[in-house]
């Protein structure tokens, strides 16, 4: 069965949103609708330690098929701070298709 990229990205955004709820609770959903453009630092005000927790849960969720730490190592610090849900979802999608 083939899945179109748009559907796959939406599913990944849903996964990321679910993981965010695990890490920081669901209160943020009252303020923010998580879309591809949502940024972790500015829009969601994710603290660094929460980012680490999210990364760990993503590694677990995708059973090692997504190398999150290698992805981050390729980014500058200011790029990490400005990271959007869409950029992360894109990396997950590319990793799963590899």
């Amino acid at each position: 069965m083939s899945i179109t990229p748009a559907v796959e990205l939406d599913a990944i955004v849903d996964d990321i949103t679910a993981i965010l709820v695990e890490v920081i609770g669901d209160e943020f959903l009252l303020d923010v609708e998580v879309t591809m453009a949502t940024t972790f630092s500015h829009d969601l005000e994710l603290e660094s330690i929460e980012f680490v927790a999210m990364a760990e849960k993503l590694q677990e969720r995708y059973a090692g098929r997504v190398d999150f730490t290698a992805f981050l190592a390729g980014l500058e610090i200011d790029e990490i701070l400005a990271l959007s849900v869409g950029q992360l979802a894109g990396h997950v999608a590319r990793s799963l298709q590899a």
Binding site: D31, E47, S48, I49, V52, G64, D67, T69, A70, I77
Partner: protein, 277 residues
Amino acid sequence: MAEVAANGITFHLQRLRRQSSDRAPETDGPVVVFLHGLVIDNLSSLYYSLANPVAQVGADAILYDQRGHGLSERPPSGYRIEDSVADLGRLLESLEVAGPVHLVGHSYGASVALRAALAEPERFASLVLVEPHCAESHDGGDWVEDVADMLTAGALSLEHNPVASNLSASERRKFRGVHATDSFLNATSLIEDIASSPPFTDDELRGLQLPVLAIYGEYTDLASSARKLAACIPHCRLEVLPGLGHAVLRDARDVVLGMVESWLAGFSQVGGGEAGQ
């Protein structure tokens, strides 16, 4: 979240290793343990800046939230530097880490690394110390006393300015950090324990045979510590970053990372380690 029990404390710990093509963790480099700074700091400040890049070039990078910090357990007492040193030793034993490890410490974490190396030098291969305090006095007075005074002032401020209720979800999240700092400063023995830390003596530093890389900012308040390390430790390389203060990791991450990577690359696994280049 990885939890490791050691020395009576449950620690939040992250272990970073490069993934091979078949997604298995692979390591062809040294074990490097990262120690973060005090109070508002936790492992995340070193995770992206130093530990992850170092892991991607082959190191087995271990980071943990020190007792009371981040997601590790926060006991009401036991914040002397000797307690932190014991935590490190028991953690390495719990993880069954064999062989000498490199320590990379930032600020108070670097002081912990230095005290640990003096206590058990055979356990460590080298030290990278980013802005540690080790002098008894600095320009303007005693640094430990100054830090204790600053923490006390912060604690009193938090006690007398309680956070308002009826906040939005976003505001509640922002003040969560304030609450955490408040409980840390006002409900533990941290301040008293830090204030009672024994100084590093010239004699004990002269006896440290490990290779040491010390990194300071040109305008740091800890310039006396920098001079002391360079003068006393036999195999100490001092790097001073021009135009910067205490926050060298924040303000010059790439430079600090380059120094750390070069330092670690200068050691060889074969032969038990040589002085870093």
